[in-house]
């Protein structure tokens, strides 16, 4: 009872004193999850710094990208800053359906995923980035295990992506080999790039790889929902997936309790917005130039004070 009273007094006083900038409604730390890729850590650190500036206590908790939903549902964890439309949609929908997890809107970043080739392959395969040109020189990409078919290094099976179906539907002379992790994916790219060896693989953005290596995404027939769902749509009348991959927003999600416990913070989280270009630049600074995440975020915060200071109001 006494605690409730005190809390009420505290709430009232904050209301009275800081009418403009809402102070922290609770000093309990807001738990933001971090994963194992730099972009996500940068995004989360920016959010964390903004919340700190608004007076909230925050705590970064490492959690697995998908396993974290179990914690978000129970309130063990509070905020996840990057759920990619392309890889996390299913888990996110399942979690929001329970009513315990809330979609906090888009981050402003757009996920791009597609087949990608290094620039030096354009000399071998004139006509790239068109997918037909790629298919015409499929043999250039063959290895002893896949010959005579070309070898396409797909993402981990868990990413989905329907590459096996795409190869089938478009009648491409490629065999899909799935990398187990994205680290393995980029290790192969690095190796091939050093030797200027042929390679075509799944890449995504925002990521440091498209800025480190010169190359382009392959141009497939543009994605449409019908192309994925309806076999008769697209250039192959008998098969679905006869087009490129969809692009999609990167979402933010939070435990439903965040809005009740820290309404001001929830507002800031909803308002969070950063562009692909800014993110790509920051990720490259960390991963390629070896700067620390904190320094890069501090630099961005100093340069973009106008944009982030409005989030928490």
């Amino acid at each position: 009872m006494a605690r409730k009273f005190l809390a009420a007094v505290a709430a009232f006083s904050t209301l009275a004193v800081h009418t403009a900038a809402a102070g922290p409604e609770s000093t309990d730390p807001i738990k933001l999850t971090t994963h194992d890729w730099t972009g996500q850590i940068v995004t989360t650190t920016i959010m964390g710094e903004v919340l700190k500036n608004a007076g909230y206590n925050i705590e970064y908790v490492q959690a697995d990208y998908i396993a974290q939903f179990a914690g978000l549902k129970t309130g063990d964890l509070h905020v996840a800053m990057e759920i990619w439309e392309t890889t996390g949609r299913e888990a996110m929908d399942e979690a929001t359906a329970t009513g315990n997890v809330v979609n906090m809107g888009e981050t402003g970043m757009v996920a791009i995923e597609e087949w990608w080739y290094p620039a030096y392959m354009a000399d071998v395969c004139p006509g790239l980035p068109d997918w037909k040109a790629l298919n015409d020189c499929a043999e250039e990409f063959a290895t002893p295990e896949t010959a005579p078919l070309g070898r396409y290094l797909g993402g981990p099976v868990t990413w989905g992506g329907f590459d096996d179906e795409r190869v089938e539907a478009l009648g491409m002379d490629f065999e899909v080999v799935h990398a187990g992790t994205d680290a393995a994916l980029f290790a192969e790219l690095e190796s091939a790039y050093q030797r200027k060896a042929p390679i075509v693989l799944w890449l995504y953005s925002p990521h440091w790889a498209p800025s480190k290596y010169e190359g382009s995404f392959v141009k497939f027939p543009p994605f449409s929902v019908e192309c994925y769902n309806d076999p008769s749509a697209g250039i192959n009348p008998d098969a679905a997936y006869d087009c490129g991959k969809p692009t999609g927003p990167i979402w933010k999600v939070a435990w439903k309790g965040v809005e009740e416990k820290w309404p001001g913070a929830a507002k800031a989280i909803r308002a969070f917005h950063v562009s692909n270009e800014d993110m790509g630049e920051m990720v490259a600074k960390v991963d390629l130039q070896g700067m620390s995440v904190e320094d890069v975020v501090a630099e961005w915060m100093a340069a973009n004070k106008d944009s982030w200071s409005s989030w928490a109001q």
């Binding site: 194992d36 490492q62 179990a70 187990g180 680290a183 393995a184 192969e188 190796s191 050093q194 991963d287």
Partner: protein, 681 residues
């Protein structure tokens, strides 16, 4: 071999007596079994086409047992609904995590974070953490206390590495979790081992549980653990203990059982009670073997560092992961080596404590600081540097501008190899693929599931008796009925090729190490490094040189599973009774004869225990092979993890465990029959 030929010749010549005919019947049995399997494996696809019977190669979808859904539902019920009246099941598990969390937080405060009051930005520091100088001084003094200056130097060197290479903060986070997980693992393991030693019934119950703990891939139960014990370091700690404890239990039981009867008799004669007999006689006598168990717990705990960091343990494992995700091979190796040096320091320290001789107490007339000069000095250093840490940050943490790094050296080295030797490597790889991996793969994946169940049952029954044969057949049926036949066969193919190569390399190394102390120290260090260096560290260079695929997976498994083959072989050779070797020398055996006629046969149980562990470790590496894209059970488990599908993960995990259990039983039975043939039992 000569024995077999002899019997064979005999039985061919005359209507041989029954006992002499046994080997040849047995041989015919195996040959026929193999030929049928081979024929079916080769033509299974043709049979399917000829009879239009797809069920031959694929278990019918509509007959699959939806066990994964049942398990998911059961776990949901456990987590969300099960209640014991006053508290729910989850309250109970959360209570356990708070029990583990308290000492963990305390250790962390001491080592790195300091003690604070309040939360977040209102927090107020009341005491600083121990200075890095103080921690190095303490471990050096501990080494000196436990053994000598050589060890002190080694340990000091190891911890200095952590500071100088800028790994200090992460290393202390990892150290905190190891300091909690290892004692729990060792004490719990020893307790279970003693219970199993005293009660054979308990051991029978425990064995399959241990097998499951050791073989169900950690990823399979990570999601339930996270849900039950909460996100963060505690869940990681609990997963670590589950993974690291089983060898301690096993080794404790075996060690206690191999204490010579005379020693126990002597203990009884001087009037020991049950407890005294255990703690004053059995445990001290078994100490050298028990320390192998402690070594394993430390090594396996540090092995879990990477996976633990995936679920929030942070520390060195996290550094390895992030470094490798941006292909910073040097950064990965530096953080990985930090795990290795920490493992070496902790292991050597614990070994030294186990064999420490009690020294005479000093003259009690002298003042304290003269009786305990080292202790006094360390206390002074600890207090002064830690207090200095309040005002000068460089005492609190090693100054960042004094750290060194190998920088891009490793990346350049791999790049050089890659550019200059890729074609040669590719050629070797293609040969191995075509003549070893692919034929084995075709053989295993071609076996129709129905015949697979029969052949596993028959083989297990032949070696271990019909009861085990039945069990093996049922387990195999479970795998097929879960719709995982193809993945299981890929698993078996990868594991068997890897175990074969690991044994071919590991056993000779172990024999060498067992006979030659200098070789032992080098090989020992190498093995410790391989077992504790997170496989992720070498996986990335391996993928760069060998591409994504089975071959890279095999190399990772071999490197990891090598350790027990070497270690058990060396242990077996070393523990051969000196008197028997003397007897051999006296009767004029050459070195070679002593090795082949005396040491190796007597070390056979150890060798087979080593083979057993090699298989277990190979199987436990399956999840890592999933990271380079194999399509085996490990991949199933990994997919289940990334989709947080508890049921799918556990069913695939159980399939892995069943394969391991069948292998374990068969190898153990082979060991027993070989012992009997040698007259060792």
């Amino acid at each position: 071999m000569t024995d077999g030929v002899h019997h064979h010749a005999e039985s061919a010549q005359a209507p041989a007596p029954v006992f002499a005919a046994v080997p040849s019947v047995s041989r015919i049995f195996w040959i026929i079994l193999f030929l049928i399997t081979w024929a079916l494996s080769t033509w299974s696809f043709a049979l399917y086409k000829a009879f239009d019977a797809r069920w031959i190669i694929r278990y019918p979808k509509n007959l699959e047992i939806p066990l994964d859904r049942w398990i998911s539902n059961a776990t949901n019920w456990l987590v969300e609904d099960l209640s014991f009246g006053l508290f729910t099941f989850r309250d109970f598990t959360r209570f356990i995590s708070s029990l583990v969390e308290a000492p963990y937080d305390l250790t962390r405060s001491f080592l790195i974070e300091g003690f604070t009051i309040g939360q977040g930005q209102q927090a107020l520091e009341v005491a600083p953490p121990l200075s890095w100088i103080a921690i190095i001084a303490i471990v050096v003094a501990l080494a000196l206390y436990a053994k000598d200056w050589a060890l002190a130097l080694l340990v000091g060197f190891c911890f200095s590495y952590l500071a100088i290479f800028g790994q200090w903060e992460s290393a202390m986070v990892t150290l905190a979790s190891v300091l909690i997980a290892v004692p729990i693992g060792v004490v719990g393991g020893l307790a279970l081992g003693i219970a199993a030693y005293r009660m054979p019934a308990f051991e029978r119950f425990l064995r399959p549980v241990l097998d499951l703990m050791q073989t169900v891939p950690v990823f399979a139960y990570l999601v339930p653990i996270l849900v039950l014990f909460g996100f963060g370091p505690v869940a990681a700690l609990i997963a670590t203990v589950i993974y690291a404890m089983p060898p301690m239990v096993r080794i404790s039981t075996v060690a206690l059982r191999t204490v010579p009867e005379e020693v126990i008799e002597a203990g009884r004669m001087v009037g020991c009670r049950r407890g005294q007999l255990m703690w004053k006689v059995l445990v001290p006598t078994a100490m050298p073997s028990l320390m192998v168990g402690v070594n394993q717990v430390i090594m396996l705990s540090l092995n879990m560092v990477i996976i633990a960091s995936m679920i929030g343990a942070g520390g060195l494992g996290y550094d390895v992961l992030t470094a490798l995700r941006r292909l910073d091979i040097g950064g990965g190796i530096e953080a990985g080596l930090a795990i290795v040096v920490m493992a070496i320091a902790l292991d050597r320290l614990s070994q030294a404590f186990a064999v420490r001789r009690v020294r005479p107490p000093g003259n009690s007339q002298m003042p304290f600081h003269k009786r305990h000069p080292v202790l006094t000095l360390v206390a002074l250093i600890t207090i002064s540097t830690t207090l200095a840490g309040v005002y000068f940050p460089e005492f609190r943490e090693y100054p960042a501008n004094l750290t060194v790094t190998t920088g891009t050296f490793w990346n350049s080295a791999i790049e050089w190899i890659n550019i200059n030797f890729f074609d040669a490597i590719e050629a070797v790889k293609t040969v191995l693929l075509n003549f070893l991996l692919l034929p084995v793969k075709r053989f295993f994946t071609g076996i129709p599931w129905a015949w697979g169940i029969v052949v596993v049952g028959l083989a297990a029954a032949r070696i271990c008796g019909w009861r085990l044969g039945m069990m093996a057949a049922v387990m195999t049926f479970f795998i097929a009925a879960s719709g995982l036949w193809r993945e299981a066969m890929t698993t078996i193919y990868l594991c068997s090729v890897s175990v074969l190569i690991a044994s071919l390399i590991g056993i000779p190394l172990g024999i060498w190490a067992g006979q030659n102390p200098r070789a032992n120290s080098i090989i020992g260090a190498m093995i410790d490094t391989l077992q504790t260096l997170p496989s992720f560290v070498y996986l990335i260079p391996v993928v760069m040189l060998f591409r994504v695929g089975d071959f890279s997976a095999m190399i990772a498994v071999v490197l990891y599973a090598l350790a027990p083959a070497v270690r058990y072989a060396a242990h077996g050779i070393r523990s051969v009774d000196e008197e028997l070797i003397e007897a051999g020398k006296v009767s004029g055996c050459t070195e070679r004869q002593i090795l082949w006629r005396i040491k190796l046969p007597l070390a056979a149980p150890s060798l087979l225990l080593g083979l057993n562990q090699t298989i277990m470790l190979a199987i436990s590496m399956l999840v890592i092979t999933a990271l380079v894209g194999t399509r085996d059970l490990g991949q199933e488990v990994y997919i289940a993890l990334t989709k947080a599908n508890i049921g799918q993960g556990i069913v695939a995990g159980l399939s892995v465990a069943f394969i391991a259990i069948i292998a374990d039983r068969v190898v153990t039975a082979l060991a027993r029959s070989s012992q009997q043939r040698l007259g060792l039992e």
